[in-house]
């Protein structure tokens, strides 16, 4: 019912608008005779362009200034400081260009608006001018590119050997996270071994896999090199952690990785923000289907001691799922039991 009323109302408004338009055009035709080439509208529009320029610039600066904290996420990684700095350098350069060009573009129509007595300047080219505004952007851009390139190469460089390795796997619609266990080595995995329990397809014929453990939250030590080894099992996902300025796609069939150094523990960040519920979040940032918008995982940055403590408390996946002992090759079962922490005396 309300739909019909709404529709009728809309129809009425449109009808009235059209009626107004008809009347005004008829009046317009009546006084059209002997009009100059360019009417009053020209000046009004030119003035409006200036008004728009002033209004929108005021809005832009006011909002950018007053809401600075809401669009600048606090930073918690080493390389993030570099990319943030690049961002603001680029912002300064483009900001100046933006202001100059928009001001010229939107004021010229007012300044040089049509006058019957005026004649435009016949100015078809000027090699010097054109050379200047080809070369200046070229130089500025090469500086930007060069600094960007240096940062990029450092960030994408091979992870240092002492990095904590953490496997992050995306699937519809969640993340699975695995640590190497006591030997700190991630065991092999194979998508053909995946089943409802062994979601990551851990291959238990590999010795390194026996002590691996899965974590419900990603813990990482502050100040240490951390490498995410990233993969996916069904469609492409993307590991995105905005506070760490970290993003890398998770691609089925092509393992990827990203390494970084966290600089603030969760506790420190909570203090800084005055928000005791704050948590670093991991987000999926590549369209992956119905649940794309809800693939949340927590990242907890600990002090290195706390991290080690937490690490030691974790129980291997094999220990939690003893049925999978049957997947371990006969000759390795004994060793597997030991490294998985199931050494006979199950407590």
């Amino acid at each position: 019912m309300s739909g019909i009323v709404l529709g009728l109302g809309l129809l009425l408004v449109v009808a009235i608008l059209i009626a107004i338009f008809r009347v005004s055009t008829l009046l317009g035709i009546a006084k059209k005779e002997g009009q100059p080439r360019v009417g009053k509208a020209n000046g009004i529009n030119a003035f409006l362009l200036i008004l728009f320029l002033i209004g929108s610039m005021a809005l832009l600066f006011w909002y950018s200034y007053t809401h600075f904290d809401s669009y600048n996420l606090p930073l918690a990684s080493e390389h993030g400081a570099v990319t943030d700095r690049l961002f603001w350098i680029t912002m300064a350069v483009t900001g100046v260009v933006f202001l100059i060009t928009q001001i010229l573009l939107l004021t010229f129509p007012f300044k040089y608006q049509y006058k019957e007595t005026n004649k435009a300047l016949y100015f078809p080219d000027n090699n010097k001018l054109e050379l200047i505004w080809t070369l200046v952007p070229a130089v500025v851009l090469s500086l930007l590119v060069f600094s960007g390139w240096k940062a990029w190469v450092d960030i994408m460089d091979k992870a240092p050997d002492d990095s904590e390795q953490i496997e992050v796997m995306g699937y519809q619609f969640a993340w699975a996270v695995r640590y190497g266990g006591t030997d700190k080595e991630l065991g092999d995995s194979d998508f053909r071994l995946i089943d409802l329990d062994n979601r990551m397809g851990i291959d238990f014929s590999d010795r390194n896999a026996h002590d691996d453990f899965l974590a419900t939250e990603i813990h990482v030590p502050k100040g240490k090199n951390v490498q995410f080894k990233i993969r996916a099992t069904d469609v492409i996902h993307s590991v995105y952690a905005p506070h760490f300025r970290l993003q890398m796609n998770a691609v089925p069939g092509m393992p990827t990785s990203f390494w970084f150094v966290p600089t603030k523990t969760t506790a420190e960040m909570r203090d800084e923000l005055g928000n005791e519920n704050f948590n670093y979040e991991l987000v999926c940032n590549k369209i992956c289907g119905r649940g794309h918008f809800a693939m949340r995982y927590l990242i907890i940055v600990d002090e290195p001691e706390d991290y080690e403590k937490w690490y030691k408390e974790q129980q291997s996946w094999l220990k939690l799922n003893p049925d999978y002992m049957s997947k371990v090759p006969e000759e390795l079962r004994e060793v597997a039991a030991i490294s998985a922490g199931i050494d006979g005396t199950t407590d």
């Binding site: 005004s24 000027n126 960007g148 998508f191 099992t233 069939g253």
Partner: protein
């Protein structure tokens, strides 16, 4: 040179004597006349723009008013609404996908290039019609077929393609991954195959026509910038669309015939698939090899149109004509070697990332040159702000705003954090979407008198401009902030994350602005159809412009010029030439008629 031309001329002759009229079908439906085909493209484009824009309003409602009960739309959306009257999350993705596909391909490629290349190339180069009228007709009808298939796909039970307009596999390859990857995706691919065929036939025609059918005296160095832009755009399309075709074909194989071009190591819906060795990244390379040139296919014609309109309405020659041509060609060449900047964080080798960052930032140089040249053209002009001129100025403003954010995204180090966020959404909607759309609107306002022999209402045009111009900035500028805060694109809802709890007000505001801006487009639609029949009769050369199309009769018939085709004697930008009687000298006026204004090197 042209059998067509002779053929057409005899036709005209024939008409004169027997009063033989083409049947309705030959004249308006399966027409071979480039002007009619252009109008067919335009009207189909307007239809798609309303549909594609309408879809964006639906998902903006979800983003701006997440708690709204949309049950009122039940008759249209049916099962796509949850019982609580909310948009289904998979339908949300379908809307996003179809909005992108429709806007990029059907509106801004077919609707823009199809309309203006068809309409203006023969008229501005002094040709009776396209090189092949028949192929031109096929080009439209392939597009039509493609449109029909895409339109049907919206109504099928499993929904249209939903994996994003970039249709990255495996998501788009596996029906198990989402329902839209079933029949909807198949129809998407079939539709695109016809679309590509249409674009290629159109493109070949544009290129042949520009090369072969220019009138006497119209050398390449006297070609209007519109034609230069259409010509180069057609070449880009011809080189890049076949690559999309191959990408689509391999995807069809993967979907239907069990190959593994893009698929490997997949466990889905409770079972491991047999596919081994494929690479999803391969698809991305193939896709963006078209996808990036595609954004220039979209923007270059708009820039060409703008060049013409800004020069005409500033009553000044376009500044740096040769530099403008140079930058069009430069952009065209570079557009082919920057594609992987869409893939910095896809796991592609970082070394490639470095190379593509260098190449990408180089493309900013010709773009900057174009902007400076536009501004210098305005400088000391005698500016008339027709609606077309206002839309052109709006385009340049968007091109600056959106182009500058490209410097952030093209820098791979900065891109790590803003990739696939709303920052990207803001960037390309301003620089590619809105700028090209404004180019298209500017073109319609400017050439409407030539298309329909009547003027569009100027006042409505001004109102339309102001709501659209302010509206576009109000919709897309705030998205930069949302993107910097890390909000990912293609999210149905932001409630699941602590980090994304802010900006609910701003999102509501953006949605309201979007609804108003979309609503304002109906002012244009009304103006367009009303003026077609009831508009004021157009004079022969309403904007006092130099190019050849204004030498045709007010409503040019088949063959464009009733008598001989005028020859060209000068470049198209002799506005406000010192010494000249009027502030414009059309291209067909020989130097011998204007001794008072000739430059020393122009004496014949």
């Amino acid at each position: 040179m042209s059998t067509t031309q002779i053929h057409v001329e005899t036709d005209v002759h024939h008409d004169d004597h027997d009063h033989h009229e083409l049947s309705f079908i030959q004249k308006y439906i399966f027409s071979e006349d480039h002007k009619v085909i252009a109008k067919q493209f335009l009207i189909t484009g307007i239809f798609w723009a309303i549909l594609g824009g309408g879809m964006s309003i639906l998902f903006r409602l979800q983003l701006g008013f997440p708690d709204m009960d949309l049950s009122i739309l039940k008759p249209i959306l049916g099962e796509w609404l949850t019982p609580a009257g909310k948009i289904d999350s998979e339908f949300y993705l379908a809307l996003v996908t179809m909005h992108g596909t429709i806007m990029v391909f059907f509106v801004l490629t077919a609707g823009l290039s199809g309309t203006f290349s068809n309409f203006l190339i023969p008229l501005q180069i002094g040709a009776r019609d396209m090189a092949s009228g028949f192929m031109n007709m096929l080009s439209y009808w392939f597009f039509f077929l493609s449109s029909v298939i895409m339109f049907i796909s919206i109504f099928i039970e499993t929904g249209p393609a939903s994996g994003g307009w970039t249709i990255y596999p495996p998501l788009s390859a596996l029906p198990e991954a989402m329902s839209g990857s079933g029949l909807g995706m198949t129809l998407w691919l079939v539709s695109m195959v016809f679309f590509i065929a249409s674009t290629l036939m159109g493109g070949i025609n544009y290129i042949c026509t520009v090369i072969n059918l220019r009138t006497e005296g119209l050398s390449f160095s006297r070609l209007p910038l519109t034609i230069w832009a259409f010509f180069i755009t057609a070449i880009i399309g011809l080189l890049s669309f076949p690559v999309l075709f191959s990408a689509a074909l391999l995807l069809v194989f993967d979907r239907s015939f069990g190959t593994s071009f893009y698929l490997s190591d997949i466990y889905i819906a409770g079972e491991a698939l047999p596919n081994i060795g494929g690479s999803p990244i391969l698809f991305q390379h193939l896709f963006w090899f078209l996808g990036h040139p595609e954004v220039y296919i979209v923007i270059l014609p708009a820039l060409g149109i703008t060049s013409e309109i800004i020069s005409t309405n500033s009553r000044k020659p376009i500044f740096g004509y040769r530099a403008m041509i140079g930058s069009i060609i430069g952009i065209a060449v570079l557009s082919f070697i920057v594609w992987a900047h869409h893939m910095f964080v896809t796991g592609m080798n970082p070394f490639l990332g470095s190379i593509f960052m260098f190449l990408t930032l180089i493309i900013a140089i010709p773009s900057a040159v174009k902007v400076f040249n536009y501004i210098t053209t305005l400088w000391r002009g005698n500016i008339i702000l027709t609606p077309a001129m206002l839309f052109s100025i709006g385009l340049v403003s968007f091109f600056i705003s959106g182009g500058l954010t490209g410097l952030f995204l093209g820098n791979s180090a900065i891109d790590i954090n803003v990739h696939d966020t709303y920052f990207v959404v803001a960037h390309f909607h301003i620089v590619m979407g809105s700028a090209s759309f404004f180019g298209m609107l500017a073109g319609v306002y400017h050439w409407f008198p030539k298309m329909f022999g009547r003027m569009m209402d100027e006042k409505l045009g001004h109102i339309h401009f102001w709501i659209s111009f302010v509206g576009v900035y109000m919709v897309f500028f705030p998205l930069h902030y949302i993107g910097l805060a890390g909000f990912p694109r293609r999210y149905y809802s932001f409630t699941a994350f602590d980090a994304f709890q802010g900006f609910t007000d701003l999102n509501t505001y953006v949605s309201i602005a979007a609804i108003i801006t979309f609503g304002a487009q109906f002012i244009f639609v009304f103006n367009f159809f009303y003026s077609m029949w009831r508009g004021q009769r157009a004079p022969e050369n309403p904007w006092k412009s130099n190019t050849l199309e204004w030498t045709t009769p007010i409503e040019p018939g088949h063959g464009n010029w009733p008598g001989e085709i005028p020859a060209v004697h000068r470049w198209p930008y002799d506005y406000s030439k010192p010494g000249a009687k009027e502030d414009f000298i059309p291209q067909h006026i020989p130097y011998s008629d204007t001794p008072e204004s000739n430059m020393p090197h122009e004496e014949e």
